[in-house]
Each structure stands twice: as structure tokens, then as C-alpha cells.
């Protein structure tokens, strides 16, 4: 939208001041702010203000006692020192980053693969696949987590039964939750199952956006499928790929419900990630100050990881109009 059209909804391009009554001009200038007001009030009051409080609490000692008595005890950087000097925090932090990276890579990779596959499928098979994906996508997290727990059950789980039926007798009564790596793998599968459909559908929509003519032109020019993908599909999905990666990073880094519901971060804390640590310190341990420090550190990591993309988004907002 680069053409300088006359747009009555755009106050910046309104006729010169003198031509219009003063009142109208100010009303026009106020319009965007009035329209933004409800959202700003909600965001500031229910997200911004609590976020500031979290920052404040991270410099206080706030356990159950202080909370009930309404005491304010400033301790400076003590909470941060406690968190950062605990070797466990670094292990959990690294684990969270690696886990997020693996989940995001797998989600986006598999999603892209399915999107490309969908483009090549005949209608009946494609619809069957889409229905299966939508079912996986729409099933609520808690229901899904429960189903996975049941499928991976030590005694009666269908996975172990199937493996035994296939001749792997060692899996009779095998527990998938004895090590952190195996527990996190099950959680990763669970996350993939729910996250891949969103990515696949979004990228598929992007692929459909690339016109058929381009593929035909490519095939007339004798392009191999791989060349056609690079020349035609890739440009169509690239911006979408960036967006789904950004969203996946946000979602996977903050995953809590699935991890907690499956094994509470166990065994022996080996599947504990930063959100679980936050919950353990804060809600179940009532060390709200320490938990807040963890929360601030988490946010810093997230901002660090997504900084470049956010800057791009904000800048494109400026130049776009």
C-alpha cells in the first residue's frame, strides 16, 4: 500500500488546519488514542503493572510470612545471587534452552514437511490428513496430556503392549519415566503432536499462495523437485516460517502444564525446566521473591532470543504505513 491515496481515516493526511474547524481536527487526533484506551488500560493494569510488581518482588524477601503480614523487606540482589549461584539453575536453564530448541526445530521441520506433502496429495487423502491434524490441534492440553500418560503407562499402556506384540519382550512393564531424557522425549512428542498442526496449516496456506503457474513454469524449464521447491515454495513460506518459529519459541519455552502434569519435573527433577522451577519456588515453595527473580531471568532470556525478530517487526510497523 504505497500509493498516496486520500484516506479519510488517516488524520496525518487530513486537509490543512485552516480548512477545517478546529474541533473536528482535535477529535480526529484523539480518535486513535480513544480506540486504543481500553486495550492499553487492560494491558497496563493486568499485565504491565503485575510485571512491574514481579520486578519489584524479585528484590524483596517475600515468603508466606511476609505475604500474610504485608511486610516489605528489601534484599537487593540477594534473590538473583541465590538463583544464579545455584548450579542447578544453570543445568535447568541449559536444559530448557536445549529442549525448546529441539522442540522448535522438530515442530517447524515436521510442519514444513507435512505442508509440502499436503500440496502433493490427492483430495481424499489430504482431507483425511487434515481432519487428523485438526483433531490433534483442538484437543485441550490437559486431555492430551492424560491420553499420552495412558498410552505410555508402564503396565497397561498401548505402546508397551504393541512393542511386546511386535516381539520386543523387554518392553513388558517398561517405564518410560525413569530418566529425564526419556521423560522429556515423551513430553516433546506430546508438544509436537499439538504444535505441528498449527505450523503445517499455516505453511500450507503459504504454499497455496505461490501460484500454480510458477510451478508449471519451473517444470517446463526442467527444474527438479528440489529446484522447484527452492525457487518457488521457499520464497512463499519464508516469512511464515520466521513467524511460526518465533511463536514456537515463545510457546515451547514457556511450556508448563504438560511437563508438570506428566511427572512434576521428575524423576529427581531431571525433566524440570525454568517454568517448572518458577512454580516450585513460587507457588509450591512460597518463596515468591526467588521465584520472581527466576521469572525476570526467564523474560531476559526470551527477549534475548527473540530480540532481532521483534526489532524487525517494530521497524516494519513504522515504515509500512
Amino acid at each position: 500500500m504505497t500509493a498516496p491515496t486520500v484516506n479519510p481515516l488517516r488524520p496525518a493526511e487530513a486537509p490543512p488546519r485552516a480548512a477545517r474547524p478546529q474541533r473536528r481536527f482535535t477529535a480526529q487526533r484523539a480518535a486513535p488514542y480513544l480506540m486504543l484506551a481500553p486495550a492499553v488500560v487492560i494491558l497496563v493494569a493486568l499485565l504491565g503493572w503485575p510485571a512491574l510488581q514481579v520486578l519489584g518482588i524479585s528484590f524483596r524477601r517475600l515468603d508466606l510470612g511476609e505475604l500474610i503480614r504485608g511486610e516489605i523487606v528489601w534484599v537487593g540482589f540477594d534473590n538473583y545471587r541465590e538463583v544464579l549461584s545455584d548450579p542447578e539453575f544453570w543445568v535447568i536453564g541449559l536444559r530448557t534452552v536445549l529442549f525448546t530448541g529441539a522442540c522448535v526445530l522438530a515442530t517447524v521441520g515436521i510442519g514444513l514437511g507435512i505442508a509440502v506433502l499436503m500440496r502433493h496429495l490427492d483430495a481424499p487423502v489430504r482431507i483425511a490428513l487434515q481432519v487428523a491434524l485438526v483433531l490433534a490441534w483442538a484437543t485441550p492440553i490437559i486431555a492430551t496430556t492424560t491420553v499420552f500418560q495412558w498410552m505410555f503407562d508402564q503396565q497397561y499402556g498401548i505402546l508397551n503392549k504393541t512393542l511386546v506384540a511386535l516381539g520386543f519382550d523387554g518392553f513388558a512393564g517398561y517405564s518410560w519415566f525413569t530418566s529425564g531424557v526419556s521423560t522429556l522425549s515423551v513430553i516433546g512428542l506430546l508438544i509436537l503432536w499439538q504444535a505441528v498442526p498449527f505450523v503445517a496449516f499455516t505453511l500450507y496456506a503459504g504454499l497455496l499462495g505461490a501460484s500454480k503457474d510458477l510451478y508449471e513454469a519451473a517444470s517446463i524449464d526442467g527444474a527438479t523437485p528440489l529446484q522447484a521447491f527452492r525457487a518457488v515454495s521457499w520464497p512463499a513460506v519464508r516469512p511464515l516460517l520466521t513467524m511460526v518459529t518465533f511463536l514456537s519459541v515463545l510457546w515451547d519455552f514457556k511450556v508448563f502444564t504438560q511437563i508438570w502434569a506428566l511427572k512434576q519435573g521428575g524423576p529427581d527433577g531431571e525433566s524440570t525446566t525454568l517454568p517448572v522451577l518458577l512454580y516450585l519456588k513460587g507457588i509450591s515453595g512460597s518463596h515468591f521473591g526467588v521465584a520472581s527473580a527466576v521469572a525476570v531471568l526467564m523474560l531476559l532470556i526470551l527477549v534475548g532470543v527473540t530480540w532481532r525478530y521483534m526489532r524487525l517487526l517494530v521497524r516494519s510497523q513504522e515504515t509500512e504505513l
Partner: protein, 275 residues
Amino acid sequence: MKTRSQRMALSAAGLVVALLFFFPTYWMLTTALKKPGDILSTDYDLIPFSATVDNFTTAITKPGFTTFLTNSLIVTLGAVACALVAGLLAAVPLARMRFSGRRGFVLLVLVAQLAPLEALFVPMYLIMRDANLLDTLPSLLLVYMAFTLPFTIWTLRGFVKGIPIELEEAAMVDGCGRWGVFRRVTLPLLGPGLVATSVFGFVTAWNEFLYALVFMRDQSKQTLPVWLSSFRTAFGTDWGGIMAASVIYALPALVFFMLVQRKLVAGTTAGAVKG
């Protein structure tokens, strides 16, 4: 052109992927239909032979089910509706107008998406306590609205941008007032976008567990996710019951999703491409 064998191979691959994604849903449904004795048996039972609806009856007649369902629906639909109104109001100027402070607002919306829910827990609790809202549905409604609003603004902005501005201008030329243009042109065209956006809010609010558990200390004020967890006790898990409950719990989300699936995809794309 693809050869016959290539097409067969592709179809086979497609079906395998479909089966993999369908299996957990299948397993949830069949387990829900099994008799308790069959569930806890070590036989290989990929295909169930005996079926019963007992688990569903038990789940629905569990005390409080309708209360929890109503609570969940009120909180979820209320939060989605409020977020849509506030989100749309913000999305229009964001997509269409130039004003100072835009950049700051965009940054606010983006950063708000980063916040982990668990992190804001203590201040949220204090705010609700001081406002005397603990144990009331509005407390959850407010929280869920706030958590879904950033995403709502962001996607709706994409939809508003997707509407050719020429349509609005034409209506203006035809003598429509600004409100008239919005009501007669913009709003109808935004319909699918509003539906698609609301799905995300719906799923987020419908799923939320932690805040519901702690804000609603009164058992009778709980929501469905908390109800679902009541099937697991220290004495063990009623797998048939919890699977039946999960099916019931998933149904509204599933129906909603099926209805708007197509528009949903168009929506996410619109939001992204217009970047």
C-alpha cells in the same frame, strides 16, 4: 507429471502421518468406551470388542459437572468477547492510522506476548484479593482476557489490513459516515477474522488450570480443567472416567475448531504476511 507409483507412495505417506496424528484421539475415545475390567487388562486390545457408555454417564453425573461446565463457558466466552471488543478497537488504528506512540504500543503488545503466565501469579493474586474478586468468575475472566488480548490485537490487525482500503473509501464517497463505513463495510468483512481470532482465545482460556485452581478456593466455583484432575486421586486413576471426561471436555473446542478451520488458516497467514 507424477507417475502412478509416485502418487501411491505419496498417498501412503499421507495416510501414515494421518494415522499417527489420529491415534491418540482414537485411543482416548476407545478407552472411554471400555469397561473398567477391559481397561486394566494386559491383553493386546488395539481394537476394542466390548463397548459401554457407563464411563460417560459416570462422568456427567459426577456432582457439580454442570456447574463446572457453566463456569467454564461463562469465563471462556466472556474473556473471548471482551478481548475481541478491546482488540478490535485497538487493531483498527494500528492497521489504518498514523499517530505518535504507535511504535511504543506495538512494542507493548509484543513484549506482553513474552510474559509467562506462571510468573505473574503472585501480583495477580494480590490484585484480585485486594479487589475482593477471589472466588468469583470475573477474576478468571479478567485474567484470561488479559492473557489473550495481545494475540487478539496482533491477529486482528492483520485482518483489518487485509481489507482493501479502497472499499472503505468508496463507501465514504457514497456518503457513509465513518461509523457507517465501519458497520456496513469493515465489520462484515472482518467476520471470519473475528471468528478465527477468537479460537485462540477460546483454547487458551478453556485450557487454563493454574489460575482456576488457586483463585477459586471454593470447590463449587471451579472450572472444567480442575474437574478433570479430580478423576485422579491418591488411590489411583479412573482411566475410563478420565478419558470419557476428556472427550466431553474436548468436544466444545473440537466443534468450534471444525467450524472455523478454513478461516483460521487464512487468518494466521493474513496476520503474518502483512507483517
